[in-house]
């Protein structure tokens, strides 16, 4: 079969010694950064982008795969040991895992999270490998109007459908879309919203926005409410290993979590919160001892962690095949591609199969490496967690600004970074979701150019959007997804605090 050949070719790329080393550095750095409290996978990728500046695209993407999965593993460790989930997708893990750690069962909690992530990540990556070529075949037939409609679906689901408040989600999205307008219009060469400042002509860098919103915003927010919360690190006591009973209680949640995570992640349905919470409530319903939930049930760690990882691999499906990022982390991965002038999508599969399949194969390798690294190194990660808060955040800010200083050491760029930091702080304080801003910035200009291309082809007739059955269907879905949360209040009961 074609996929096997492509995957085997990818494996051959990924197991070259240099690439293995890149993957190893990636998972190590990714875990080390991801384990720091308050840092989710999106910020992990954003902070570590400068490390990959000087690598060739292949090596850099492989390192990215490692960073991505490493950041996710790191996040679950933090959630279990200090109950501060770096991202909303780890909230279910924090719920049960931290209780387990308090009861002296931190080891098995970490183990079930790590092994569950491995199982889910592997199955979901196989899903990615087999689903992608099929979707690519489908996507090559997409016209610009279909792409535009697809992006409308992503805009709505990411911002409005599943959040706390559709109004605040859409507000975040439109702030991102506004930022996306800044700079030279690619079709006519005219400057928009540049106000005569030359640095603004190139537009807003995704990394500057993401690091400002996530790193600076988080640091400002945590500093502002330091007097409210006391973080407590739970020491890992007792055995690290899972008992026979733990295995028996874990394997089904792993598989069920994967079944929730991968399809929902692969649909442009916004983030990993939904599968993790679905998995959590399913495990609670199916458990033999539902009364243990809320007091440290291992099923409540195993299922959501698997769902979280499976959905992370799932979001790579629309990213790689359609160029459509549906989470903040995926948006950062897209930024990583773009720094080499690469645009994920059907064309990349045709033109650079070595890159795409090398990346997919590296996901398998990163998964194995993490399983081997994570548990033995748990002592090291715990030490990272014990860094005093002032130094921790001071260090995070030094690294966060370093990325911008290295890319563009200008006063304007750094001021933008600071301004995005203030924006991120205010958005956290007033409970606006952050991910839609990043997705809006990165997808807004692409959606606009697809729409303008579609209208140019149709000689300005907007009905072209409804004449293509694909685009008409997608726009219909977008409309339903937009209206539904206003009609059915209570659909989005998942409180998303973002990474």
């Amino acid at each position: 079969m074609e996929t096997f050949a492509a995957l085997a070719h990818g494996m051959a790329v990924a197991v070259q010694p240099m690439n293995l080393l890149y993957a190893l550095i990636g998972v190590f750095l990714g875990t080390a950064v991801g384990v720091l409290p308050g840092i989710g996978p999106a910020l992990t990728v954003a902070l570590l982008l400068p490390v990959t500046y000087k690598l060739d695209p292949g090596g850099s993407l492989i390192m990215f795969a490692g960073i991505y999965y490493g950041g996710m593993y790191g996040g679950s460790t933090t959630a279990i040991l200090i109950n501060t989930p770096g991202e909303s997708a780890s909230m279910a893990t924090a719920l049960e895992g931290n209780k387990m750690a308090k009861a002296g069962r931190g080891g098995p909690a970490l183990a079930t999270a790590a092994i569950g992530s491995f199982v889910a990540g592997t199955i979901a990556t196989i899903g990615l490998a087999f689903l992608s070529p099929w979707l690519v075949d489908f996507a090559v037939r997409f016209g610009p109007e279909d792409y535009f409609a697809l992006m409308c679906v992503a805009f709505v689901t990411v911002s409005a459908t599943f959040g706390d408040s559709p109004i605040r989600g859409l507000t975040s999205l439109f702030i991102g879309l506004t930022l996306g307008l800044i700079g030279i219009d690619k079709l006519t060469g005219q400057a928009r919203l540049a106000f005569g400042i030359p640095e603004l002509l190139d537009g807003v860098e995704v990394t500057t926005l993401a690091v400002g919103l996530f790193a600076l915003g988080e640091a400002l927010y945590v500093a502002s409410r330091r007097h409210h919360t006391e973080e407590k690190l739970e020491p890992v006591r007792g055995s690290l290993w899972m008992t026979k009973e733990d295995w028996k209680r874990s394997w089904k949640p792993w598989l069920r979590g994967t079944m929730f995570g991968f399809p929902i992640g692969a649909l442009p349905a916004g983030g990993a919160e939904i599968p993790t919470f679905l998995s959590y409530s399913t495990e609670k319903r199916l458990a033999k001892h539902p009364e243990e939930f809320g007091k440290g049930a291992i099923e409540g760690v195993a299922g959501p962690e698997a769902a979280n990882n499976a959905s992370a691999a799932g979001t790579l499906v629309p990213l790689l095949t359609l160029g459509l990022p549906t989470s903040a982390t995926a948006a950062m991965m897209l930024a990583g591609f773009q720094q080499y002038g690469l645009n994920p999508g059907p064309l990349l599969f045709a033109e650079r199969p070595d890159l795409v399949w090398g990346l997919i194969a590296s996901l398998f390798i990163a998964n194995v490496m993490l399983l081997v690294l994570n548990l033995p190194l748990v002592g090291l990660w715990v030490k990272l967690l014990a860094i005093p808060q002032p130094w921790l955040y001071a260090g995070i800010l030094v690294f966060a600004t370093m990325g911008t200083i290295a890319a563009k050491p200008s006063v304007v760029e750094l001021s933008m970074l600071a301004a995005f930091g203030v924006l991120g702080f205010l958005m956290r304080r007033f409970d606006f979701p952050i991910a839609p801003v990043v997705v809006g910035l990165i997808l807004g200009p692409i959606a606009e150019s697809q729409l303008r291309r579609a209208l140019a082809i149709s000689l300005g007739d907007p009905m072209t959007l409804l004449q293509s059955p694909m685009s008409a269907t997608l726009l219909g879905i977008a409309l339903i997804a937009l209206v539904a949360p206003f009609v059915l209040k209570g659909l989005g009961r998942f409180k998303a605090s973002e990474d």
């Binding site: 490390v51 109004i167 219009d185 005219q190 500093a223 002032p390 260090g395 030094v398 007033f430 209208l455």
Partner: protein
């Protein structure tokens, strides 16, 4: 649609929410104003001035939505914040930008940010923190500038290395 859980105190007008609504409306106005100076050169389809107006309309509607939420007191409850910590970090960022702008170099700039951030999180040992910051940023500079050949701005300290 009654706002269920927050209870009676959430009924008050939320001033900050009104300010957010006004800011969104102002942003919409800026978009429209900016789009007026663009020339329509496209014969068919959409010129560059259309999208800003569409987004401005969206922002305008959202400003109204946010205003309604604020007037109804529908915003989520907020805890008190410590403005001093926020200003300290912002001062650190301002220092960093100034030092980079005047050619003070990477080490001094990021050290300033490190010390102010650490102070914002409640540390009072400025001398110790400065020493830690200088050592750490020097190591970062050496790793990234020399080892990974990433160019970081050099000032007086970097030239000594």
């Amino acid at each position: 649609m009654t706002d269920l859980p927050q209870g009676a105190r959430s009924r008050r007008v939320d001033r900050a929410g009104v300010a957010i609504a006004l800011a969104l409306a102002a942003l919409a106005a800026v978009l429209v104003w900016d789009s007026r100076q663009l020339q329509t050169t496209t014969m068919y389809g959409m010129g560059p001035e259309v999208m800003p107006v569409v987004i401005a309309i969206g922002l305008g509607i959202l400003a109204i939505g946010n205003l309604i939420d604020a007037l109804r007191g529908n915003l989520p409850a907020r805890e008190s914040a410590d403005p001093k910590a926020v200003w300290l970090i912002l001062a650190g960022l301002a220092l960093l930008i100034a030092i980079i702008g005047f050619g003070g170099g990477f080490i001094l700039a990021t050290s300033a940010l490190f010390v102010t951030t650490s102070a914002a999180f409640g540390r009072r040992a400025i001398l110790v923190d400065s020493a830690i910051a200088l050592v750490m940023t020097t190591l970062i500079y050496l790793t990234f500038d020399r080892l990974l050949t990433l160019s970081l701005p050099a000032g007086p300290l970097e030239r000594l290395l």
